[in-house]
Symmetry: C2
Amino acid sequence: MARKTGSHSDITGPRVRDAAISLIAEKGFAAVSMRQIAAAVDMQAGALYNYTADKQSLLFDLMRTHMEELLEARAEAAVTGDALTRLEAFTRFHIRFHLPRSREVFLSYMELRNLTPENFAGIERLRKVYEDDLEAILIDGQRAGVFKIADTKIATLALIAMLTGISNWYRPDGRLSIDRIEEIYWALVQNAVGAAEIAATAAE
Amino acid sequence: MARKTGSHSDITGPRVRDAAISLIAEKGFAAVSMRQIAAAVDMQAGALYNYTADKQSLLFDLMRTHMEELLEARAEAAVTGDALTRLEAFTRFHIRFHLPRSREVFLSYMELRNLTPENFAGIERLRKVYEDDLEAILIDGQRAGVFKIADTKIATLALIAMLTGISNWYRPDGRLSIDRIEEIYWALVQNAVGAAEIAATAAE
DNA sequence: GTCTATATAATGATAGAC
DNA sequence: GTCTATCATTATATAGAC
């Protein structure tokens, strides 16, 4: 598997991607030039085209990879059990996965409008898989009488918006540890779906 | 107050602002050119500079106006009473104010990074006033034993993220009416702060 | 207040040498 | 695989005529 002298595509590729994620998350896709990305990895702009067909492909590749990693990690972290157990696993997974990826979260939710229609549809499809994963849990809990949810579709979107919003304020050196954040949000989620009320009532 | 012939700044100004809001919400600030904004109001790019000093000032003006209108409307809609009553008023106000303003919501949350540091600080100051308004309600309810909240600061951010997320999927011709959306989200908010549990327990 | 014309700079992408 | 050089396009902003 030895490579030719001067060939660094297996190292340079990831460096280009990482620099692009940082710059786009910071300034926005349209505001970042290929020259800026190249400068961040000590290259000339022309050389970037060895790693991407064009600027649009680079953006799509970054977003698709992020979503695929999300779904893959989620599949590994999923648990079996009752709806409450699975909801807790989902909540904690979502937080743990997204907290160290604030750049990717920002990028994935802010740059959808800069994708071509075809690429946009591809990302939306992946995101729907993730949403459906959560909604299936809510529907199960609802049917089992464990949750009290007015509309599982809306509750799904509301919970994901609430949890993903953490990325807007979280700082690694902030007031709260990741464990503490997990606890606070798990309490909010539990309450929101009406699980805490059932638990309190049942305990009497 | 008659104006000179050919003077339309009192009409053209709002038209420029409205076109800018639409275009920036759709494509992003950096991706929209002054020429595009001018074309949307049937003008040449140079004439826009009668209405804004530069592109950055235009963006800041749009975001500042949106935040000021939010705070003004909120001041008018605020009610007195116990924490639960005020939380319900806040929740319903937030939804009713933001639902018809999806462009402004998008713009205000997506284009913060395209503001100069000074302008960014100005917008953040206004946004903090709004957040503090909600947190004061949560703190009051917590002290009165009406709410069960682990961290009022985090709950504030979580609720606002949840409510503002409506703008990401709401369509006027969608499945749910505004009234129905208000009911669903008010139930979620009530649950999230632990008010429903207290109510259920107290009722027994 | 709006136009045309333009100064000045930057952009995405490509060609060809090495 | 990376470089230099460049093309063709587009950008913000300004000047001056009307």
